[in-house]
């Protein structure tokens, strides 16, 4: 079976071959050799690539740090790194312990730090409490008044009008009015009593007024090549992708489920690969991407993200014995009896258990000897 050389390798070959000064026949020879090399490197049929991938990721696990926090860049935002992060990804936890996004901007919006800061301010989740100042409860007239802090208003790019609009949407039974002094006066519903007005105050302060829900911190950062991007704490991929300035191709989240939901299972697969690869690289551990691909592919084959746990990938196995040998064997055995499951012994552990050659690698080819007597009988049967 001959396979075509991947285009990336072909491209690199053409690039490099241009640089040297040799005649065309040598060039032809080089191309030919790359081709034969590629065929030589193909995996052998029967190779237990699964075990190799598992070992390649598991073995360096002992070298990874257990420290949960690492200070990214200017030390404001924490991210989970090292072994805990790997475990988190492979377990397919519903939410990461430190959700975060990396947001790239379209070229024209990422010219200067100020540009980026402007976009960042747009993203940040702002509660009224973050900007409100000077909140007072007027019990006599049963009113609540507050103003917005001038400085904060600027840093968060909040406008009084917008705030009122947002609040009106949430508190439909209250009346909001902007005074000449830019103060906002709130008139609670008629039936409210003193207790309610204080409750309302707390609720108001906790109300989301601007930005994108869930983006708790934003931090403009610079890549090594000098490009500006934004790192966030908290994620909301769907809403962020809707924003005009964002480069939707490169922007991503570290929440694999979210990516799966917003962009589909292939994106989730890719996210698993890249998230694990990034952690490994941070730790200075060299693992070939192919192994991560295989793990990620097994986690996503049936269209949803399944963890490498007894509830995830292992639960999907056909073999009763394979499941039983992993965790909680009795549960699997009794379940098997109710469903009348048949273990066809096609996997590795099953065959280890019954002392038969394992169906992997050199265990696959079979040589059957038919003694004269047996053979004669069998042939008779088949001829009928």
């Amino acid at each position: 079976m001959s396979k075509k050389i991947p285009s990336t390798i072909e491209k690199r070959l053409e690039e490099r071959i241009k640089l040297i000064d040799v005649d065309t026949s040598t060039k032809k020879k080089i191309r030919k050799e790359v081709e034969t090399e590629f065929q030589r490197m193909q995996v052998t049929s029967g190779e237990a690539v699964g075990v190799i991938a598992a070992q390649s990721i598991g073995e360096p696990g002992t070298q990874m740090t257990l420290n949960v926090f690492h200070f990214a860049g200017v030390s404001e935002m924490n991210t989970t790194v090292g072994l805990p992060r790997i475990i988190e990804i492979l377990d397919a936890r519903k939410t990461p312990s430190t959700p975060s996004m990396t947001i790239y901007l379209k070229k024209k919006y990422a010219k200067s730090e100020d540009d980026v800061r402007k976009v960042a301010a747009k993203l940040l989740h702002v509660n009224l409490g973050d900007v409100a100042d000077d909140i007072s409860v007027d019990l006599l007239n049963f009113r609540l008044t507050f103003s917005l802090d001038e400085d904060l208003k600027k840093t968060y790019a909040v406008k009084v009008k917008e705030v009122i609009e947002m609040l009106e949407k949430v508190f439909k039974d209250c009346e909001f009015k902007m005074l000449k002094t830019e103060k906002i006066r709130v008139k609670p519903p008629a039936e409210a009593d003193v207790k309610d007005i204080y409750k309302l105050k707390v609720k108001l302060l906790d109300t989301f007024v601007k930005g994108i829900l869930g983006i708790n911190h934003v931090l403009p950062m610079k890549t090594e090549s000098g490009e500006w991007y934004i790192k966030t704490a908290g994620t909301n991929l769907k809403k962020v992708l809707e924003i005009e300035e964002i480069d939707t191709v490169r922007t991503s989240s570290n929440d694999i489920f979210e990516i799966g939901k917003v962009l589909g299972i292939e994106a989730a697969r890719s996210a698993i690969i890249h998230e694990t690869l990034e952690v490994l690289n941070q730790q200075g551990i060299n693992v070939n991407i192919r192994h991560l691909m295989l793990v990620s592919d097994t986690m996503t084959v049936n269209g949803e993200v399944k963890g490498i746990t007894r509830y995830g990938v292992t639960a999907l196995k056909d073999s009763v014995l394979a499941r039983a040998s992993f965790e909680v064997p009795t549960k699997h055995l009794f379940k098997a009896t109710v469903r009348k499951e048949i273990d066809h012994l096609r996997g590795v552990v099953e065959n280890v258990m019954i002392n038969q050659p394992v169906p992997v690698g050199t265990g696959i080819p079979k040589l059957v000897y038919r003694s004269e007597k047996d053979g004669a009988k069998k042939r008779d049967k088949s001829s009928k």
Binding site: S56, L83, N286, I308, P329, L345, V348, Q356, G361
Partner: protein, 861 residues
């Protein structure tokens, strides 16, 4: 041991619910009495040790199959229960069934329309063994449980509750096991599919036991203590309780005892049978032995790491293995393993006698137990003869067709392993080299794949017993085939320590050796093809271990200039000659871009191993030739320089103090989203780290160069510049959980400091080097940090171990099919081509095709 050709293969294992009918058929005895033995110590008939359930005493014969201990597999017995009893492990199923079926007509509470709708889907799913079945089943069950009226007979349904562990309540009325069984009996076969049960699996009422199958004697053997007293297995004890209770219950029933007494006994029987199956159910007090020890019953035997599955089925004990301490020996080949005589004379290889090797094998038989001898001779009629007795007879009878189990000799193939076996290089095939003394010997070049050291590590040895396994070992597992790791496609075995240092010393500068000296080095390194020359340079000597037509350029861009200047900046090898460059860890060690990788690629495993072997011999010989020692003086720093370090550190200290001042005055501007204190900490850390690095740089300037310790570092043999800095200049900040040390006493780390002192030295900054010595407080901080890293390691190991187990378990069945697709055991395609391009990492150049290397090779010709 009789060897027979195995013609049959187990094609599958089917799981079903045991029917009472089958149970009765299986039971070769009805157990009636809890007594075990009579006065003579002979098993009582119809007792729990009845001889019809198999024999465990040598000398007796089984009364069912007539075989003796070795051949009787054991037979089941049975206890007819006076009243039906719930099977604990099926409780949750029974609970679902009761709630989903009508209390009067027994039909599943689903309308005919719904049934019609789902039946086909479920049947198909069941046929295909698909998991869709589970999803639908769950949804249907939920629907049925909440219905209040039977759509078939119109009966109003009552809420059924499960009172753990095994009592069912309908409203408040208790359902006895008889009631439960009756209800389950009423569920028609055709409705079972909606309950997630396969019709072929059996009947739901079988989940309520009427007969209890008693495991054979062989499953619960009794042991005879030294005192002659018999000690019974936990299961036998438990069964005794069951028989006793069952007997009493049946007596009371036939005697017409009051209902309360019967109910009590019934509950007791339920308890005993529950704990017989599973003795660790919550809400059930575990059954105990008389001594108070918790009994180990059936499910305990299966469960967990020490259970049947993981302990005996997925992993097995083996013969022909050995284990002892390892120690280094650089005079043996990396592919060899040194084995003590004592072990070599114990482990054997079966060798079939033919007319061509009979004379050779006879010598082993003649030697008998004396090494190199043989321990057993197997004749075709299956007899095994021990060498000790009647050696002469055996010798005279030795004929082609016999099998001689001869001792290990040099050159035999064996497996060598060190736990934890985290990757495939943890078990590799070596060649035997029998040596005196009592440890396994390995070449230090191979410690890396095993992750071994010689501080008391032990390793395991296994001897393959068949020709097939030996062939596979040679071709697939030999150390030379494992040089490239499949993790990233570069050598994992390579020169290290002394070997690197030796080659470094040899090739650095233009050292000239006289012919005699060169001969001395080369011959003792196993190189015999020596050119006729008066003088040799070090580079020429090293070149002799390389293949004659090897081309290697470390860095293509810098190559031209380096070759012109001969400035040793990069390694260039032309036609097997080291033209320029110093050989160091980068060029002959493990890792990407080493000469070794190129040799492996072009000349294959065998040749690479030869080179590696010669590197190790030549390297250590060179070190011995020059002599090499290190001294503490290598880390000495001149007073003037040290003064610089002191100033640099106190600079940093003042900077930190300034920050603290600012913080104390409340003027420190916090980072957004951080408190001032956190900001302080995060600003201090880089200052102190920078100070340590700077002080290191100051000192290293003086240490760099000729000093021997630094030669070690530069060649990559051992140590790092950081080690020198720690010794000579400054140890730096000590961390606890990733922060400066901030705990201990109230508001201070140690009682030597003022409360609230946040200064560098009060929070674990060590400004001395190891040689200058640590102050007492610094010593404590160092100890804190040291303990923290130990604790950390201790927590990491089990975590990553579990991750590894899960990964392997999830992926173990995935393999490449002949069509190049990657599939799992059920044939589901996981990838259409491994890693998208089908490249096997262990056959690649660091994960890809190294286009440059190919171009380089052609261009330089």
């Amino acid at each position: 041991m009789k060897r027979e050709a195995i013609k049959d293969k187990i094609a599958g294992i089917e799981f079903r619910i045991l029917s009472p009918k089958l149970a009765r058929k299986l039971a070769s005895v009805k157990i009636m009495t809890p007594e075990l033995y009579d006065a003579d110590g002979y098993p009582v008939d119809n007792g729990l040790m009845d001889l019809r359930m198999g024999v465990i005493d040598p000398g007796l014969r089984c009364r069912t199959c007539g075989s003796r201990v070795q051949d009787c597999p054991g037979h089941f017995g049975g206890i007819e229960l006076a009243r039906p009893v719930m099977h604990v492990e099926y409780i949750s199923y029974v609970y679902d069934f009761l709630r989903a079926s009508c209390r009067s007509c027994g039909r599943v509470i689903l309308s005919e329309a719904d049934m019609e709708k789902w039946r086909e889907k479920l049947e198909n799913a069941q046929k295909e063994d698909s998991l869709v079945q589970v999803d639908i089943g769950k949804a249907l069950l939920r629907k049925m449980k909440n219905a209040s009226k039977c759509p078939h007979c119109g009966e109003k349904q009552e809420k059924i509750k499960l009172q753990k562990p095994s009592t069912f309540l309908e409203d408040i009325r208790k359902l006895t096991s008889i009631d439960v069984r009756e209800r389950l009996e009423r569920i028609p076969d055709s409705d079972l599919i909606f309950l997630g049960m396969n019709i072929m699996a059996g009947r739901p009422e079988w989940m309520v036991l009427t007969i209890l199958l008693v495991p054979p004697n062989t499953v619960r053997p009794s042991i005879t203590l030294e005192s002659g007293q018999r000690s019974e297995d936990d299961l036998t004890h438990k069964l005794g309780d069951i028989v006793r209770t069952n007997q009493r219950l049946s007596e009371n029933i036939s005697a017409g005892a009051p209902q309360i007494i019967i109910d009590d006994l019934w509950d007791l029987l339920q308890y005993h049978i529950t704990t017989f199956f599973n003795n660790s159910i919550s809400q059930v007090p575990p059954a105990r032995h008389r001594s108070g020890r918790v009994l180990k019953t059936l499910s305990d035997r299966i469960k967990s790491k020490e259970g049947r599955f993981r302990h005996n089925l997925a992993g097995k004990r083996v013969d022909f293995s050995a284990r002892t301490v390892i120690s280094p020996d650089s005079k043996i080949s990396p592919e060899e393993v040194g084995i003590p005589y004592e072990i070599a004379a114990e482990l054997t290889i079966p060798e079939r006698v033919t007319e061509w090797n009979i004379d050779w094998l006879r010598k082993f038989v003649e030697n008998g137990e004396k090494y190199p001898g043989a321990n057993y001779v197997l004749t075709p009629n299956g007899r095994k003869k021990v060498m000790k007795e009647a050696k002469e007879v055996i010798l005279s009878e030795l004929a082609p067709g016999d099998i001689v189990e001869r001792h290990l000799i040099d050159g035999d193939i064996v497996f060598f392993n060190r736990q934890p076996s985290l990757h495939r290089m943890s078990i590799m095939a070596h060649r035997v080299k029998v040596l005196p003394f009592k440890t396994f010997r390995i070449n230090p070049a191979v410690v890396h794949p095993y992750n071994a050291d010689f501080d008391g590590d032990e390793m395991n040895l296994h001897i393959p017993q068949t020709e097939e396994s030996r062939a596979e070992a040679k071709v697939l597992m030999a150390l030379s085939t494992q040089i490239i790791t499949p993790r990233y496609g570069s050598p994992i075995i390579g020169g290290s320590k002394d070997y690197v240092l030796g080659c470094y010393l040899l090739t650095k500068g233009n050292k000239v050796f006289s012919r005699e000296d060169a001969m001395q080095l080369l011959i003792s390194s196993g190189i015999e093809d020596i050119p006729n020359k008066k003088e040799f340079t070090g580079k020429e000597i090293f070149s002799l271990i390389l293949p004659k037509d090897l081309h290697f350029v470390e860095d293509l861009e810098k190559a031209k200039e380096a070759e012109k200047n001969k400035d040793d900046s990069i390694v260039i090898i032309r036609k097997g000659n080291l033209v320029t460059g110093v050989i160091d860890k980068k060029s002959i060690g493990a890792g990407r871009g080493s000469v070794l990788q190129e040799i492996f690629k072009l000349y294959g495993p065998k040749r690479s191993l030869e080179v590696l072997e010669k590197i190790s011999l030549l390297g250590s010989n060179v070190v011995m030739y020059f002599g090499f020692s290190v001294s503490p003086a290598d880390t000495d720093v001149s007073p003037s320089l040290y003064q610089k370090v002191v100033t640099r550190l106190s600079d940093a200290e003042t900077k930190v103090d300034d920050l603290i001042d600012l913080y104390n005055k409340g003027k420190l501007e916090p980072y957004p989203g951080r408190t001032a204190r956190e900001t302080l900490e995060t600003s201090i850390l880089p200052i102190l780290n920078k100070a340590r690095n700077d002080s290191g740089r100051i000192v290293l300037k003086e240490m760099t160069g000729k000093d021997r310790t630094f030669l070690m570092i530069r060649s990559g043999a051992n140590g790092s510049p950081l080690n020198m800095v720690l010794i000579g200049s400054c140890v730096g900040q000590q961390n606890l959980r990733g922060f400066r040390i901030n705990r201990g006493f109230r508001n201070r780390t140690l009682s030597h400091f003022k409360k609230g002192d946040l200064g560098s030295s009060a929070r674990g900054f060590i400004k001395h080097g190891y040689k200058a010595g640590l102050t007492p407080t610094e010593f404590f901080f160092h100890a804190i940090s040291g303990r923290d890293s130990l604790v950390n390691k201790g927590m990491r190991t089990p975590k990553s171990g579990y991750l590894q187990r899960r990964l392997v378990n999830a992926l173990q069945d995935i393999k490449v099919f002949p069509d190049g697709t990657v599939r799992d055991a059920s044939g589901t395609i996981v990838q259409f081509s491994f890693g998208e391009d089908g490249i096997d990492v262990s056959k690649s150049d660091g994960g890809t095709i190294d286009v440059d290397m190919i171009i380089r090779r052609h261009a330089s010709k």
